[in-house]
Symmetry: C2
Subunit: 402 residues, 2 copies
Amino acid sequence: MSELPLLARKLDASDELAPLRDRFVLGTASDDAADAAVYLDGNSLGALPANVPDRVADVIRRQWGELRIRSWEESGWWTAPERIGDRIAPLVGAAPGQVVVGDSTSVNVFKALVAAIRMADAGRDELLVDATTFPTDGYIAESAARLTGRTLRPVTPAEVPAVLGDRTAAVLLNHVDYRTGRLHDLPGLTAAVHAAGALAVWDLCHSAGALPVGLDEHGVDLAVGCTYKYLNGGPGSPAYLYVRRELQDRFDSPLPGWNSHAEPFGMSPAYTPAPGAVRGRVGTPDILSLLALDAALDVWDGVSLTAVRAKSLALTDFFLRCVAEYTEPGRVECVTPERHAERGSQIALRCADAGEVMKRLIARGVVGDFRHPDVLRFGFTPLYVGFRDVERAARVLGEELA
Amino acid sequence: MSELPLLARKLDASDELAPLRDRFVLGTASDDAADAAVYLDGNSLGALPANVPDRVADVIRRQWGELRIRSWEESGWWTAPERIGDRIAPLVGAAPGQVVVGDSTSVNVFKALVAAIRMADAGRDELLVDATTFPTDGYIAESAARLTGRTLRPVTPAEVPAVLGDRTAAVLLNHVDYRTGRLHDLPGLTAAVHAAGALAVWDLCHSAGALPVGLDEHGVDLAVGCTYKYLNGGPGSPAYLYVRRELQDRFDSPLPGWNSHAEPFGMSPAYTPAPGAVRGRVGTPDILSLLALDAALDVWDGVSLTAVRAKSLALTDFFLRCVAEYTEPGRVECVTPERHAERGSQIALRCADAGEVMKRLIARGVVGDFRHPDVLRFGFTPLYVGFRDVERAARVLGEELA
């Protein structure tokens, strides 16, 4: 008999973050499963924070339904993008006034890259992009390069230091790789990019909320991230844009919508950009989704990111240990780095029949996801995943792989 | 004693659209007002449709909270942008498969303009934009011109026919002017643009849902519009993009996010655009707002746009008649055209103290809005505004102007 179930109980008992699970709705996901599902897909869609439903109901019934147009002022709708940005700021290591929420990640990647290219010296004609990144970053980078007359050069993060040079205008990197879960060296790579005189743009989709990021500390120039993974903002909730304070006056947006105007209600035909993070806004903010996110961010009250990171690593370590015990050697290959310094908050296992295996896992109440062509992804959200969840997931996985 | 209150009752009694008001939540907007407010700001933020709160609660509690990631397929989240686009299509006179919902109006203006410029002959180096339009269209047009190396030429809609020529790549016009409420000649201007060999892009923010648009009938090339005015989608609800079927294969998006890929889950580093309206998508769709809009669109079931237009004109005619009777001659100047063919669904009155007057009107439960520097705007949403509302608004206005 394995000692792992007992160990899982002990680890849960001593987990200081365990009570945070009550801040989420984690009921039965499937009528077919005997128990509540083990939800290991928070790196794709975070679970529902318990206070979101009532908050959104109030936004709809009272703020929209009763106050209507008055809510733009009285309910603080107009300033929500920067106010909520300031709530995300500490989660990514940013001082206030540098983060604004709105639009999708893809749209924010576009803003950040075109703005970065425009901040770089005119003679720098190359844009480097992480060739292993989530594809939308590459597609949008290609468009940004095309529209600004630059050349796009896809490279792996490991190749970046050698490729950087006088021609480099900006570099777009992903902090944690969406497929392998590899954590890239944000401080080191940012320093290398700066040493070459270029700008560093980071995509934080798979790191923010799972580990400390330290944007200010490491001098990152621009960053973007989604809010529906470890920030639990809900399906397709708006993304955010970080522009380092020293660069804000030079932020020249390719999407200068009226919300980024210094006097948006002046209705002037001449564009004058607002100072600060507001300059990253575009059109009318999507209030229902923004305020759902606002409510979702309450789960971070009093939470230490150091503790989150420690638990995240403990969860992934324990998962790897359980998989090693429950699964026949060689049946899966772990593509997530073993070294803590290179690991995000997910474990990716490769096997030829990954698509079929994931279907069977989900049917048995262990919810991860499949990434084409052969990767099983398991995301570990420290705020609501426990060690018993991990043990059960690895045990069911072992059974299905047998 | 004026006969107008009695006439208003008669007009309400014979109004075939009057029962539609029950499809909305129109309770007390202000504790200060004795009666429920007269809401004449639906051209800025549409009132809350009655079935939205329960629908959104289900999306949050069941689809997100219980099904979680499974909802992308099982709850139809993934295809919502084009499915809801097909629900908007008949409201703008479009056959299915040409409208997609997502992003803000400003972002869609950017997509439409860059795509239109790329569809035009390479030698055409001018982009014409309505100089009187809502400013964001001009700001975004300037950016689109800058990024594609074209020259932006702001002109009034009346000047367009004379200015069109071999240099014109595309023309961006607003169907109804946000300030004056003037309805521009979409069929005639579109034909003139086509005769010059250019592409016609229309902004429908202030017309869709208030009058028939006829995109297919008049051969419009591309169009955008918001959904939070006459379509009642909620504050900042996502906008839509129309691309005429014949042009879809040539739609070359400046924002080629992964959602517009032919195989989005193939995760290929090479971008291959999807066919059809899907090509206008960018990033992950904002599901809460999209599905609130989906519910809001139910109010259109069985509604004839011809009847909507007839009532809209009857409401604005009646308002002008009431204002003429209740207000001292010369106290306000009507800047909305008198001719029906040139009138949208709002009345704009100019007076030097418009800002102060609107504050007093709102305090008395008559909610319109103020547009800098001297315009009182009153929007008439035929689905929920009645003739008694109109008479009361004009009467209170007359009292406040006296």
